[in-house]
Structure formats: C-alpha cells, structure tokens
C-alpha cells in the first residue's frame, strides 16, 4: 500500500493493487487505448480536438487511480474527479441538446454523490477505518442498537453509486448522455465510467461492510428487486428504441444491472459471474458503440431500420458487430455467456426464496429481448433480401477504426473462452 498524502489518521490518500483493481485496470486500459486509436481517425474532422484529448487523457489517469484506491476516501475523491472530467466529453458537440445532457449527467451524479457521502459519514463513525480489505465484516458489537441506521446508510451508498451504474430509478441521465457524445466518448462512458458505479458498490459491499451483514435484510431484497426491474426495463425499452445509439444506451442500463444483480446475490459464484459480465460487457459494448459510430458515419442515418446491407460493403465490421451482439445475448463461447452462466448458478444457490428462480428467468427473458434488438441489424447486414437499397456512402473504414473494433471483439471472445485467466 502506498500512502501519498495524509491529512490525519483517518483520512489518507493511499493506493493498493488488488484483485478487483486488476480487473478494472485491465478493462480501463484496453478500452481507453482502443478508444484513443479510434479517435485518431474519428475526431479528425471535428473541432476542439485539443480539449477532447486533454480531458480524455486526464480521465484515463483518474480512472486508473480510482481503480487502485486502497481506502474509501481515495476512491471517492477520484470518483468525483472522474465525474467532473467526463462532462466535457459529453458536452463536446456544444449544441443545446449536448449541454442539457451534460448538465443532466452532472446533476444526477451529484445527487448520487450526496447519497454516498451521507452513507460515508455514518459508516465512518462505526467502522474503525475505511480501508478496502476483501471479505472484512463490520464489527457487530460497535453498531449494536444502530443496525437500522447502518443498513440505511449502506442502502444510500448503493443507491448513490447506482446513479453511475444506471440502475432504476436513477438511470435517466444515461440515455441522454450516451447518444449525444462522440462515438469513442460514448464507448468509454458505457464501457468504463458506468462501471465505476459498479466498482463503488462492490467496494462498499465486499470490502467495507461484508456480505453477511446485509444478507437476508431488506437492503438485499430491495437491491435485488431494483436490479431485476432495471434488467427488464432496459431490455424492453431498447427493444422499442429505433435510434441505434440510444438503443445501445438502454442496452447498457439492462446489462449493467446483470452485474449489480450478481453483487446483490451476495455469493461467490454470482460475484464471479458479475466480474466476468463486467469485463465481457465492457469489451462488447465498447465495440458496439465504436461500430455504431462507423455505421452512422457511413450511412448518415441514425435509425436501425435505415441501415441495410452493411455486411455487403463492410463484412468485417458487421461480423464483429454480430460477435459482440452474441456476447451481449450470452451465446457460447462468448464472455457474456460465461458471465450469465455463473450468475444463474449463483442465483439458484443464493438463499433468497422466490428470487432464485425469478432472477434466472428474468436473465433469460432479457436475453431474448437482447437478441430481438441487437441481431436484426447484423443479420439484415448479411441477408438483406432481394431488392434492398444500398444506403452506404461507400466510404472505406479506416484501419485506425477497424483495428480497435477487432481487438475489442477478440477480447470479448477471450473472456468467454479463458475466463480463468481474467477472474
């Protein structure tokens, strides 16, 4: 553990490399590198490049620091910095819509932060320190008589972090902010920034409070219900959404809640599933957003039903789209499948009464909806049917855009084939 700076005994900035840092760092590094290479080509024609790259790099460094945080205050500091630094990326286009989306994102994040802060103040009183140590349990003797308050504080922290993770009811910023940002920025938003909320919840539940404390309490059941509602809601809305990038944003809402569901189940198998889903969703969704950028660029359309026969002109990109979609749905051998497999096993083994089967069933219904909203674009790309109109402008895709997409797709497959290496 490296302590950088110490205000007093309780408050210090310190960093440590542990198992979860490894997963988060890997995801952030791959996604930011891929997004950067992609940006070199994508942002060529856009204005304010200097601003974009500055904030992009700053954001990356802050996220790395956040994933390495060794105690809560360090984590929280970097978390807030990340929020502020990512706003310029959302607002990049400068239109009124972009600014509104940026503010919405900012204020929702603040609202979440207040909830987290409240929880922090309470917990700080009852915990001896706020260091992240895996599997630690809160000392039950010190909180005797105040269990209700501590539970409430934990719930507020979960709710606060869930703003970033896009869990219902605090998800509304996500569908505004993601579609409006430039493609690589939305890929980063959806792949990494959203995951920071997940990281926060994992850190609180497994590294500070301990799973046993909330197992079987109203906190667990409420958390479970919220995640299940979000999974279904996100998938359904994505199914109805005609605009590609907004559809992907709704898909993010649903898929992130898979991870949250894994956390809420509070057992090792489910957490393993959550971690795998964490990686698989990051790689696949990032690839999908980058591909969406390419598709929108070459067709000048943003609606899914207008994009036809893309597989004829861009077979490689469309194939990557299909593989990434299969990972989203959870078809072997992609990462999404392995994640879902462990999530379902974890769900069955958790002692949560009716939620066991219900959870597994919801995951499957959501998978069906996912197939419904992701596959048609890819399949119509390769099987447009006779008499289709060529809608592409015929521009070729730059290698700088194709290579990151390919690498991300391969990563999504690798997570599925060799899950043991990653988690």
């Amino acid at each position: 553990m490296i302590t950088v700076w110490k205000l007093n005994e309780a408050l210090s900035l310190s960093y440590r490399f542990d198992d979860f840092s490894r997963i988060f760092l890997l995801l952030a590094a791959v996604l930011f590198t891929a997004g950067f290479v992609y940006s070199l080509s994508y942002m060529k024609e856009k204005e304010h490049k200097a601003r974009y790259y500055t904030f992009y790099i700053l954001l990356f460094s802050v996220i790395c620091l956040m994933s390495l945080a060794a105690n809560f205050i360090t984590f929280y500091l970097n978390y807030e910095l990340m929020t502020l630094l990512s706003v310029p990326l959302v607002m990049h286009d400068g239109t009124e819509e972009a600014r509104v989306a940026g503010f919405k994102y900012l204020f929702y994040s603040f609202a979440g932060a207040y909830c987290v802060l409240f929880g922090f103040f309470v917990l700080n009183k009852y915990c001896e320190d706020m260091d992240f140590i895996y599997g630690r349990q809160i000392d039950l003797s010190t909180i005797q008589g105040h269990e209700g308050l501590v539970l409430f504080a934990v719930f507020m922290m979960i709710l606060g972090f869930s703003v970033k993770a896009g869990m219902w009811p605090m998800h509304a910023w996500l569908t505004k902010a993601h579609p409006i940002a430039p493609a690589p920025a939305s890929a980063i938003l959806s792949g990494v920034i959203v995951k920071s909320g997940v990281a926060g919840i994992i850190r609180v539940v497994y590294y500070i409070i301990g799973a046993d404390f909330i197992r079987g309490t109203w906190v667990q059941y409420t958390f479970l219900s919220l995640t299940l509602i979000t999974i279904l809601m996100g998938s359904t809305l994505a199914f109805f959404e005609p605009v590609l990038k907004r559809r992907l944003a709704y898909s993010t809402i649903s898929q992130i809640s898979y991870i949250l569901f894994g956390i809420a189940l509070l057992n090792d198998e489910a957490l393993k599933g959550g971690d795998l889903q964490f990686l698989a969703h990051g790689f696949a969704k990032c690839a999908l957003f980058l591909i969406a950028g390419i598709f929108i660029h070459v067709t000048h359309e943003d609606r899914v039903d207008k994009m036809l026969a893309l597989g004829r002109k861009y077979p490689f990109i469309t194939f990557c789209y299909l593989i990434a979609s299969l990972s989203m749905i959870g078809i072997p051998p992609t990462g999404g499948f392995i994640g879902k497999w462990y999530l379902m096993l974890g769900s069955m083994n958790a002692e949560i009464r009716v939620f066991s089967v219900l959870g597994a069933a919801v995951l499957l219904i959501s998978a069906l909806l996912t197939a419904g909203y992701l596959l048609p674009l890819g399949l119509k790309g390769f099987f447009p049917g006779s008499g289709y109109l060529v809608v592409t402008t015929g521009e070729s895709v730059s290698k700088l855009e194709a290579i990151p997409v390919a690498i991300l797709t391969i990563m999504a497959l690798l997570v599925g084939i060799f899950p043991g290496i990653f988690v």
């Binding site: 909830c115 199914f239 043991g420």
Partner: protein, 632 residues
C-alpha cells in the same frame, strides 16, 4: 442407457468455465458415423446444385461449422458441453435457411432463429435447474436423477420440462414444430436434407437424455412425452397429405416421423408392470431398438428423398406438385432412388423402416396401457398408413403422371450427385435385410457386438411370421385406401388441391402475435412508466415546490456591473489612445458574455436533474441534522 466406451474431460486453463467433457458409446459412435456420411452425401450433392447461385463460400463455411456443432452434441459427456455445441449448431445452421435471401426465406429464417433462441433459453434454464438440484451435469451421473433426489423433485420436473421444450423445438415436435414446415422448403436441398435428417435428431438425442437418464421411470412424464409424440405423429402425417409442395410434404413427413420416435421414447420412459404386479425396472429393448433404428432409418430416407427433391429443383426451380408433374418420367435411376427411400419410410417389409416400425409397434403394445393400448396402436397404424399415402402421392405425381412440360432426360444431374442420391437407399435395403436376418434369431458377430455394447439382448422376433407381418400390412392397406379415397377423390380434380385452411397456422395464429405484439405491449407499457417516473417526479417538484416560472423570451442586456466596468475600460482606452482611435466596445462585449452565462444558467436550472439535486441537498441537510442531534 448404453455402456460407455470412452470418455474424455477437457479443461485446460478453465476453458469456458466448467470446461468440456466428451463421452462415447456404441450408439453415439454409430450415429456420428451416419452424421459424417450424411454430410459427405450432402457435400457431394452441393456443387452442381449451387452452381447458379452467389454466396457459395458462406454456405460451405457454415455447413462445416454446423457439422462440428452436431458432432459435438452427440459426443458430449455433460449437459454444459452439449448446450455449447447445440447453440453453435443452431446459429450456424441459420445461414442455411437464409441462404437464398428471398422474402419467404428470410421470414422462415426469422422463425427459425426465434425458435432456436427461445429453445436455447429454455434449455439453459433446464440445465441450470438440474445443476442446482443434483449438483452434476455429467450425463451418466444424471442417471435416475429424479428417483435419487425426491426431495427436490419439483426442481427436477421443472428442469425436465424446460429441457424437453428446448430439445423438442429443435426436433420439431408439436407444438414447437412451427419452424420445420417453413424452413425446410426454403433452404437449399442439400441443407434441407441435413436439417431434416440430422439436425432434428440432435433434439431427439436431447429428449433421450431427459427421458432415459433424468426422468427414467417417471410415469407422468412418460405419458406427457408419449402424448406429444402421438399428436406430432398424426398432425405431421395429415399436414403432409394435404400439402401440394414437394419439400413441404417432406418436411411435414419429417415431423410425423419425429412423432414416431418421440412416441417410442415416451413409451420407454413409463415403467412397465410385470405379470405379478410388481414394478419392474427393465426397459423394453424392442422399443429402444425400434426408436434408435427409426432415427437412423429416417436420417437415411430423408437424405435420399430430399436430394431427389434437390434434383427436381435444380432443373425446374419449382416445387409445386402441379408444376413439376411428370418430371421423373423416363428417369428410372431417379425413380429407383426415391422409391427405395419411400418404401423404407412406409415400412415395407425388407427395408430398415419395416424393422424399426415393427419393433416400435411390438414395443408399444407390449407394456399394456390399459384401455389406451388400442387407441395408441391404431393411431400408430393409421399414421403409418398416411406415410404410405403421401409417399405414393409424391411418387405418382413425380414419376408416373404426365405433366405439361418436357424435361431433359440426360444432363439433369451430375455423376457425383447420382452416387449421393443412391447410397442411402442401398444402405436402407442392405441394413434392413441383414438386421432382419440377425434379429430373426441367428446370432452373429454383429449382434454379439451390439449386445456387448449395451444394446441389451437384441430383441429376437421372427420378423417374417404372419403375426408380425400383419401390422405392416394393415398399415399398407390403410395407406392404399387413403390414397385412392382421400388423395384421388377429395384432394385432386385435375390438379392437386391444398384444402388445408390457410389461417390454421399455429405460428401466425398464436406465436407471432404473442411474441411481436402482446408481450411487448404489456412489457413496454410498464417499462415506459418506470422509465418516466423519476423525471415525472422532478417535473412535479418543479411545478409545485420550486414554483417554476416560464422562460421569458426577452434577454437581459447585461447588468449594472458590466455596464460600469465596460464603460470604464472603454473610457480609459479612449483617453490613452491617439485621436484616430476607434473605440473597442468593451461594454458590449461584456454584455454578450453576461448573456451567454445567463443562458447556461437557465439551461442548468431548467434541466430536470437540477430539481433532483436540490431534493438531495435538502435530504442530505435533513439527515445531517438528525445525525448531529443523535450522536453529539
């Protein structure tokens, strides 16, 4: 069920989580041999057939991928491996159905994909449930899972039903058969042969695992499977007789034959009661052998007849019986190949089909289903009659009647295609005769080998005795009567008529509206309500608590500060500069900056989340206050 010959677990570096394991017994080996043979025949047939079309590479690549998936299904030692290969097979074979890219192909492909995805999800649910209930996925260890885990029997039953739905969707059993009559006619013929002959069997293999291992001797489940099998058998046969499309008839026939096989499996699950009333655990070897032989029989038959249909299509590009009438006249080779398959399917003595159907028949009447025995037996015999009826209809239409068009009798197929079309028919005849000879009681090396490998005692039946032949002849008699009275009198005048009502289509009637309209409508309503509720809450707050004023269009032209500072700077510059200085209007510039700032603030204030943040600050303050009061 069968003695395992070899197994192999494969889990380097935690590949795919639980890892793969494979296991092989004689039945699986035999069937894998048939799969490879079928693929070889289909690939031999393909080059000439696909000559005029585009996208050939795609077809070949996905054919090979499907082969890997199918072999994997039959070689898998646990349900996880089976599921992975099953999905690979399902998705890769999508390309077959969509290959043509005609409108109806794409629609059929959609149906195929939906059924595959939904079936896959049911299967996954079943696998997860059984893993939870028994703690293992190894197929051999799952033997008698229900009887050994009676405390969790609800889970195992639910799991078995989920898995059954998943596998039945692939096998094409009622009521999840909908993809079968749609997908087979639109796929290229060598692919439909494999779809119908082999891919459906992977579903059957799965049903066997559920029935013979997990739910062995569970009577209600056996009756359920038996009932499904009987319905499929009759429905498929009736649909086939009514159809006037060559490949659709064959597809419906596949459905009917799948029904025979499922019936066999279902009857074999039911525990038999011995004469003194005790439950005895032995399985009916006649049923088991009949089921397995009928699987193989059906694969070979469908390879033959679908490839013949492919020959028809590659010359005429039509499939409607009225348009291809008389195509096969003066083509004795083609007629022979088709006839061999048709005879075996109809169960004419001498062929493999006779053997398998007789064994099924004997097995079905043996255990005794009380008053239902007669019903089951006659359903079985009448369905057999229908089989003969629609095969005769096809044969007569193709090879005997005179059609309007003249056809080329020389170069209608290549030499390699001839071999591919003939081999299955020959195999059917040879295996039929030799197996009848063996099973008539003449022990031979083959039968000893089969017995050793776990086929149990081979059922020694004197296949050529009158008692046994009677069943076959009743069926054939029913078929002849049906052909002359139903097909010739009712279903045709000059042309073949399709009297099956168009609207009576399970897919269009129930599934499509349910999946594409009703479910999304309900889900969508709730999802939208949930999506909007937070924003609606904030709007409510703004209208009530924060007293939101409407935006005024008038813009502020700066404030006092900007006026004063701007004026001062201007004045100072003007004093300092030369006489010809054109004053730079700092006052105006500051005013514009001020206006921009105001506008941004306005956007911020009007954004819904501003309300949220205010609410949260309020809550935070309140909670802090409570905290301070409580603890200090």
């Amino acid at each position: 069920m069968f003695n395992e010959l070899a197994n192999l677990s494969f889990n380097p570096n935690g590949i795919l989580g639980p890892g793969f394991s494979f296991s092989v017994d004689l039945f699986r080996l035999l069937y894998m041999g048939i799969i490879i043979l079928s693929w070889a025949l289909s690939l031999m047939f393909t080059p000439r057939y696909l000559k005029p079309y585009r996208n050939k590479t795609r077809y070949y690549v996905f054919t090979i991928v499907t082969l890997i998936g199918t072999l994997g299904v039959f070689a898998s030692g646990d349900l996880f491996t089976l599921f992975c290969f099953f999905e690979l097979m399902s998705f890769a074979s999508y390309v077959w159905v969509a290959q043509d890219e005609r409108k109806e192909s794409l629609k059929a492909a959609d149906t195929y994909l939906y059924v595959a995805v939904i079936g896959g999800l049911f299967l996954l649910m079943g696998i997860v449930l059984i893993y939870y209930a028994t703690g293992t996925l190894n197929i051999n260890e799952l033997s008698n899972a229900y009887m050994h885990n009676l405390d969790k029997k609800e889970y195992i039953t639910a799991s078995a039903i989920c898995m059954f739905i998943g596998f039945a969707a692939k096998a094409g059993a009622y009521p999840v058969h909908i993809w079968l009559p749609k997908a087979h006619p639109v796929a290229p013929a060598p692919a439909s042969a494999l779809l119908s002959g082999v891919l459906t069997k992977s579903g059957i293999f799965g049903i066997m695992i559920v029935g013979f291992y997990v739910m062995r001797h569970v009577k209600p489940f056996g009756i359920f499977v038996l009932a499904i099998g009987l319905i499929t058998m009759v429905l498929g046969a009736v649909l086939a007789v009514f159809s006037v499309d060559l490949k659709r008839t064959l597809a419906c026939s596949s459905m009917s034959q799948i029904g025979f096989i499922v019936t066999g499996i279902g009857a074999n699950i039911i525990p038999m009661v011995s004469e003194n009333g005790d439950l005895y655990a032995g399985d009916s070897m006649a049923l088991l052998d009949g089921t397995i032989l009928h699987m193989m029989n059906h694969t070979l038959v469908k390879m033959a007849v679908f490839l013949v249909a492919g020959v028809v299509y590659q010359n005429t590009h039509k499939l409607n019986l009225n348009e291809i009438r008389g195509f096969g006249r003066k083509k004795p080779f083609l007629a022979t190949s088709f006839l061999l398959g048709a005879l075996s399917l109809s169960g004419v003595p001498g062929f493999l089909g006779y053997l398998s159907k007789t064994l099924l028949h004997e097995g079905l009447i043996e255990p005794g289903f009380g008053s239902f025995t007669g019903l089951i037996e006659w359903t079985f015999l009448i369905s057999g009659g229908f089989t003969l009826c629609y095969m005769t209809k096809l044969f007569v239409a193709l090879f005997m009647e005179k059609g309007a068009a003249e056809y080329d009798n020389k170069n209608y197929m290549s030499f390699v295609q001839r071999i591919a079309v003939l081999i299955p028919g020959i195999l059917l005849l040879i295996s039929g005769i030799s197996l009848i000879a063996i099973m008539n009681g003449h022990a031979s090396t083959l039968s000893l080998l089969l017995e050793k490998a776990g086929f149990g005692e081979l059922h020694h039946i004197s296949f050529l005795s009158f008692e046994i032949l009677k069943g076959a002849f009743i069926s054939i008699g029913i078929g002849v009567v049906l052909y002359f009275f139903l097909v010739r009198l009712v279903l045709m005048d000059d042309e073949y008529k399709n009297l099956w009502p168009e609207w009576l289509d399970l897919e269009e009637l129930i599934y499509r509206p349910l999946i594409t309209r009703i479910l999304p409508l309900i889900l969508g309503f709730f999802a939208r309500a949930l999506d909007q509720c937070m924003d609606a809450f904030i709007i409510l707050l703004r209208k009530t608590l924060f007293r939101d004023k409407p935006i005024s269009e008038a813009r502020l032209e700066g404030n006092a500060l900007t006026h004063v500072v701007g004026y001062a700077v201007d004045y100072r510059r003007a004093m300092k500069e030369e006489k010809d200085y054109v004053p730079y209007d700092y006052e105006k510039k500051l005013n514009i900056k001020w206006m921009e700032l105001q506008e941004n603030v306005k956007i911020a204030k009007r954004s819904m989340s501003f309300g949220l943040i205010l609410a949260c600050i309020g809550m935070f303050a309140m909670l802090s206050f409570i905290l301070v009061n409580m603890f200090l």
